[in-house]
């Protein structure tokens, strides 16, 4: 049962990633693209966690945590750059 649920989870998250990719290419403004990349990072975190359940190891949690931090910091840095024209003043 968990295997079927994981299969559905892989499918749904992959379709979600495709939607985000469409917004990344089509997004009219820069902030649309930033938001698309931020959502893609969150979806990839979910994909890593599902893969960790599938493989039955807990080594992937570090990867998920690192990706969460990296995605947040990159989004904040890009918003800061759009707002102020500089990241660290």
């Amino acid at each position: 049962m968990i295997a079927n649920a994981l299969l559905f989870g892989y499918f749904a998250v992959s379709v979600a990633l495709l939607f985000n990719l469409w917004r990344l290419f089509a997004g009219p403004s820069v902030m649309d693209r930033v938001l698309a990349v931020d959502t893609m990072v969150i979806n990839v975190i979910a994909l890593i966690i599902l893969y960790g359940i599938d493989r039955h190891t807990s080594v992937y949690f570090e990867a998920a945590l690192l990706l969460a931090m990296f995605g947040f910091i990159s989004t904040v840095a890009f918003c800061r750059f759009v707002l102020r024209g500089d990241i660290i003043e």
Binding site: A12, V30, T39
Partner: protein, 131 residues
């Protein structure tokens, strides 16, 4: 693993995946950035939370020990999602130059564009545009 726990893990995975799909669908369907901002920051974060709780229950059932990593990731994601949404909205407003904003109805304009009279009087003139 007991059947009830297996059912709970499967349900949480399916619910989390559906929430993530809905969040990304909202990003495609919604008309402008301010409404598009709602879908990923709420639905997608909730979906990832569901997947993380499913993972916690799964490793509780198979290894017998509660792992704390998932709580850390959940806490971090739920903490950073509002900050990201706020910054994206603010950068969008400043990129547009405040076009389309309704009047505040008060004595001064929107605080992200101009400072209130009290703070403008107490601050030096060169530091009014921090942020």
């Amino acid at each position: 693993m007991p059947f009830v726990l297996e059912l709970a893990v499967s349900l949480l995975i399916v619910i989390g995946a559906v929430f993530m799909l809905v969040g990304s669908l909202g990003m495609v369907k919604l008309p402008d950035l301010m409404s598009r901002l709602h879908a990923p920051t709420k639905a997608t974060t909730l979906g990832v939370g569901g997947a993380l709780i499913a993972s916690m229950l799964y490793f509780l059932g198979t290894d017998g020990a509660l792992s704390i990593h998932e709580v850390l990731i959940t806490f971090f994601l739920f903490l950073t999602a509002p900050v990201t949404a706020h910054l994206v909205a603010k950068a969008h407003l400043h990129a547009q130059g405040g076009a389309g904003l309704p009047p505040t109805g008060g004595g001064c304009g929107w605080s992200t564009f101009e400072s209130t009279p009290e703070t403008a009087a107490s601050e030096s003139p060169s530091s009014h545009n921090k942020g």
